[in-house]
Symmetry: C2
Subunit: 244 residues, 2 copies
DNA sequence: ACTCCCTGAATTGTATGCAATTTTGCGTGC
DNA sequence: GCACGCAAAATTGCATACAATTCAGGGAGT
């Protein structure tokens, strides 16, 4: 099949005003673009865990040759979103139940750390912003705006990550969250759960504003432990722990 | 230069005794082998941060074509050990000082979690094994066996990771440790530091055996905070010299 | 002498071709 | 009818060829 015969754009065409670039951002390669797209398809649920990722098919779909597809798959494999068996192709990662439990626990601990750091180091302005975001989500709950809440929920948690002031930690948390995304699809279903989630968020925000790191960590663990409930049938989970 | 024209081995040469493989281990691909080898070269310090990773050179060195090299580099880029600028080649990752500080802090927190989990969930036998390993390291300190201690030190920390009972967490911790490895090269230099390190380990082990999660976490933070001291000079050294 | 531009070389990104292995379908024997 | 084995097809792994961009050096212009 003669794939990828589309007219190639003549390049990002560096404008002369780009002489002093704010950030070095030479046009992304096809492999990176592909990796992003495929990753989105996976986290969005369009490609559920277990889906076979055939190189030639992906190449045809995205209008490129197999080479960038292979590189994108390697990237995603290192990220953990896909699984590559040496001569047997790649599939969307499908962790075993025990593994999933481990990832959820790690996620909880990572977020607990972030929340602790938020409580300890966040500035007044940032705390206020977090609180206002939380208040806004409260209105979404009242109005039954489920979709909006789901998006805001992701943003809220990411705010905790970056609020930790530790970019590396934020990346670890974010990466873990993305890897878990395909398994949280059916979450936040009922309106009860929505309200409960918001209330738990409230505890987290309160602890952070109060500057109580231990309380913030604890509140996060409570929150994540309950959200795990939706998949809990999958695996028995190890006991939660407490540390400072 | 016509690289990689060496006679290709007729394959990993699956020995007939391999007919009934204990585990599905289809021979690793060249890209994976390469990634492992390059990663070792980086963590060992043979390729210090900032080293340019030219594809064709690596291909020639390892006797393969550029294709597996590129895939290996993608893998390592996703791991964070190397940095890929879109059209400008790859180099061994050289995080900025601030970033390094973040990574060390995250490392400490990850290990603190692991130690907490060790204290909370480790079985009696495993605790005993950890203690005996610690005792062995004590003898190394007495005898001034610096090299052996360095190796044992890595093993000790990895024992904490796997002792957490959470494989995913262990992977995160291990990956972070590998990324930091190039910046700890000159560590554990003096004998004083050796003894101090061992003493700090002792606090960790004691807390774990006592089942005191909070104390274990605290001891780990103390330990890592002091070991960080040795890299301060190193990190400040190259103030991000502004070359490409 | 310095700057700018232009050209050539080096290097990366992508496509394609071939070899090897896995997978699949079918026929044969039990 | 079912299991086993073999052959064809499909798919991955690797190498090479080509295209495009970046980098380096020199020469003309100011």
């Amino acid at each position: 099949m003669t794939t990828a015969t589309k007219a190639r754009a003549p390049s990002p065409a560096r404008l002369p005003t780009d002489d002093v670039p704010k950030r070095r951002r030479p046009g992304p390669t096809r492999a990176e673009t592909l990796a992003t797209r495929i990753a989105e398809a996976i986290t969005d649920g369009r490609m559920p865990p277990g889906t076979a990722l055939e190189e030639e098919r992906l190449a045809a779909i995205h209008g490129v040759s197999r080479t960038p597809v292979r590189e994108a798959l390697r990237l995603l494999a290192a990220t953990g979103l896909v699984e590559q068996r040496p001569r047997r192709g790649a599939v969307v990662a499908r962790p075993e139940p025990g593994r999933l439990a481990e990832m959820f626990q790690a996620m909880a601990e990572l977020e607990a750390i972030c929340a602790s750091l938020c409580a300890a180091t966040m500035g007044r302005a940032d705390k206020a912003r977090l609180a206002s975001r939380h208040a806004m989500m409260g209105r979404m709950v009242e109005d039954g705006w489920v979709d909006a809440y789901r998006d805001a929920n992701v943003t809220f948690h990411e705010a905790l990550y970056v609020g930790s002031g530790n970019g590396y930690l934020a990346e670890l948390a974010d990466a873990t969250r993305r890897r878990l995304a395909p398994f949280r699809a059916a979450q936040l279903g009922g309106k009860d759960r929505l309200a409960a989630s918001h209330q738990e968020h409230g505890a987290i925000v309160a602890a952070i504003i109060a500057g109580d790191a231990a309380a913030a960590a604890a509140a996060v663990r409570v929150h994540l432990a309950t959200t795990e409930g939706s998949w809990g049938a999958l695996a028995g989970q190890p006991p939660q722990l407490q540390f400072g």
